[in-house]
Symmetry: C2
Subunit: 341 residues, 2 copies
C-alpha cells in the first residue's frame, strides 16, 4: 500500500466500529487516491465492511487485540492493553506505512500514545490539542484544550505559531489573528503565565493581537486563541454544556409559545429542520476533529460522539495535513523562532 | 439613620445614575423598613430622584467628588480619584452607618476598595467573587470569578465553605452540593492545585461531591462550583459570549425559517416575547449581583449593564445577607475549620 494512507482506529468512539467504518467509506468515496488501514478487531471490522457492501482494495484491515475504552485510564490502558487499536495504528504511522492517524477514541490515550510511539516534532517542546470552534463569525482554533495542563510561556508561544499555521493552511484564513486568552484585554492583565507570554508573543512572527477574553471566541475578532490546557479544556466543556442547555431551553420556549397559537403547529417541521441545521452548523464535532499539534506524525482526535460524516471529515483533514506537510512547516517556523530568541 | 441601611454607589454601571436610582426606588417600595445612602454627584443624584418623583426621607444623598469609570485601572483610580463614590460608600460601611455596599461599577475597583477600606473577615485568607448562574436546572454559584487569580488550596476550600453557606441561606438550597471544577471527574485528575484541593475538601463539613467538569454548571448536578479566579472569570466570559451568540443564531434561524411560510409572520410577536422571557430568565445580571465573599462587610457587585430591576434585586440580596448575618456564620465556620486542621 503506497502513501497516502490513513491509519484509522476502528474501535475508537461511542459509535465504533459502525460509524468509523461508515466514515472510512465516505472518505474513500470523496477521494479516489485515498487508502486506509482500519485497525481493530478483524472479524468485527470485516463484517462491518461487508454489511456496508464494501469489496474494494483500498482498505486493509489490521487486527488489534484490544480496544481502549472511553473511560479507561489512558496510561494504564496503554500499558495493560498491549496491542490496542490505538497502539497498532500509531505504529503504522511510526513505521511510515501510514501518513496519519485518526481516532474518535479516548483522547488521553491518543495523546499518551503519540508521545510514546511518535514523539515530538523537531523544536517542539509540548504538543497541544487544537479544537476548532464554529460558533462565531469565523472558525476559531483554541489551543491547548487538555494535552498540557502545566503550561509555560514557551509552550503557549509554540501553540500560537502551530495553530496559526493550521488556521492558515487548513482553514484557509489569511494572516490569522492570534490572541492570548486572558481575564482582561489590557497588556498587563492576568497571572504570571499570561504576563510573560504576552510580552514574548510580540517577538514572534504571528499576527498577535494581544489579550482576548473568553467571550471573543464567539465574536469574530480572533482566529486563534492560545491558553493553558486546563483553561482550554474548561472552555470546551463549558461551551458544550451551555450550548446543549440553551438549545434545549430555546426549543422548549419556542414550542410553548407556538402551542398557544393553534395554527402554528403546522410550522413545527420547518422549525425542527432549522434547529437541526443550526445544531450541526455549530457542532464542532462535525468539522474534522482536533489535531494534536507538535507530534512527529499527523494525529487527529475526533469527538467521541462522531458519526460517519464527522469521521469522514476528520480523515479529510488528516489527509490534507499530511499532503501539504504541515509538520515540516511547523518545525521550520519553530526552529527559526528558537534561533531568533 | 438607623440600620439596616444600604450604601449604594449611584455612579456605578453603564446606566448610572438613572437605573441605579430607579433600582433604589424599586427596593424601597418592596421593603418598608429599608433605608439607603445614595452616594454620588449630589446634584445629579438629587435631580434623578426628583425626576422619579421621590420625596421621602428613607434616602440620604451623600456627595462624592469623583466617579470611577468601568475602564479605569482599579488601583490607580482609587489612588487618584480620592473621594470616589466607591470609596465614600465603602467608608459608610466601615463606619457602621451602612450594613452593606452595592455597586454596578468597576469590579476591580470594588474588590480593591473592599480590601483597602473593609479588610477581610476573621479567618478568611482571600475574598472571592461568587456569581450565580441561572442557566441550568437549579441556580449554581461559581466562585471565584476573578478576585484571586493565584489561588492556593486554602483559598479554594474557603470559597467552597463560603459559597455553600451562601447557597443555603440566600438561595435556599438544602445541603448544597459542592464541586471542584476540574478537567475530568476522576479523583486524581487535574493540575497540582486541583489535586491538593480535592484531597483536602473531603475533610471539610461541606457536601463535597468531587470534581466536576465545566459542562456540569448547566446540568443540575452541582450547586457550588469552586475554581481559581482566572478559570472562573474565563467561564463567565465564555458563557456570556456564547449565550449572546447562540441567542442571535437561534433568533435569526427561526426568523429565516418562518419567512418561508407567509402566514407565520403573525407569530413573530409571540416568539419575540418568548425569546425575551428566555433571555431574562438565563441572564445572571438580573438576579441580584455577585457577592464578594470574605470581606468584613456585605459587598454586592452588580453587573455593569444592570437596569433598575437588577439593582433592586442586588439591594434585596445585600439586605438579606446583612440581616441574617451571613458573615458571622462564615467566620464561625472557617474558624472552626482552621482549628480542625
Amino acid at each position: 500500500m503506497s502513501n497516502p494512507a490513513i491509519a484509522l482506529d476502528a474501535m475508537g468512539g461511542d459509535n465504533a466500529p459502525q460509524e468509523v467504518v461508515k466514515g472510512a467509506l465516505i472518505a474513500l468515496e470523496a477521494d479516489p487516491d485515498l487508502k486506509m488501514y482500519l485497525v481493530g478487531n478483524e472479524s468485527d471490522v470485516s463484517s462491518e465492511l461487508s454489511a456496508n457492501g464494501y469489496e474494494g482494495d483500498r482498505i486493509e484491515v489490521v487486527h488489534a487485540e484490544h480496544a481502549i475504552s472511553m473511560s479507561d485510564n489512558p496510561v494504564k490502558a496503554l500499558k495493560e492493553k498491549k496491542g490496542s487499536s490505538i497502539e497498532v495504528a500509531m505504529r503504522l504511522v511510526r513505521e511510515g506505512k501510514a501518513s496519519s492517524f485518526v481516532s474518535a477514541g479516548n483522547t488521553g490515550a491518543c495523546v499518551a500514545a503519540s508521545s510514546l510511539f511518535l514523539g515530538r516534532l523537531k523544536a517542539v517542546k509540548r504538543p497541544g490539542i487544537a479544537v476548532v470552534f464554529h460558533t462565531g463569525e469565523a472558525p476559531v482554533v483554541v489551543v491547548d484544550v487538555g494535552a498540557n495542563i502545566a503550561c509555560k510561556p514557551d509552550h503557549l508561544i509554540q501553540y500560537g505559531v502551530m495553530a496559526s499555521l493550521y488556521a492558515q493552511e487548513i482553514l484557509g484564513v489569511d494572516s490569522p489573528r492570534v490572541g492570548l486568552l486572558n481575564i482582561g484585554e489590557e497588556d498587563a492583565k492576568g497571572n504570571s503565565l499570561s504576563k510573560e507570554t504576552h510580552a514574548r508573543f510580540q517577538q514572534t512572527g504571528v499576527n498577535f493581537i494581544g489579550n482576548v477574553e473568553g467571550s471573543e471566541i464567539y465574536s469574530g475578532k480572533v482566529h486563534v486563541v492560545v491558553c493553558d490546557g486546563f483553561v482550554g479544556n474548561t472552555v470546551l466543556k463549558v461551551s458544550e454544556g451551555l450550548a446543549e442547555r440553551l438549545l434545549y431551553l430555546f426549543t422548549t420556549t419556542v414550542k410553548q409559545a407556538l402551542a398557544q397559537v393553534p395554527e402554528a403547529m403546522a410550522l413545527a417541521p420547518v422549525l425542527k429542520k432549522a434547529a437541526s441545521e443550526l445544531i450541526s452548523k455549530i457542532d464542532y464535532s462535525e468539522y474534522g476533529g482536533a489535531p494534536l499539534l507538535g507530534v512527529d506524525g499527523t494525529v487527529i482526535i475526533a469527538h467521541g460522539r462522531s458519526d460517519g460524516k464527522a469521521i469522514g471529515n476528520a480523515i479529510k483533514v488528516a489527509n490534507r495535513m499530511a499532503a501539504i506537510e504541515l509538520n515540516s512547516r511547523i518545525s521550520e517556523e519553530l526552529t527559526s523562532l528558537s534561533g531568533a530568541n
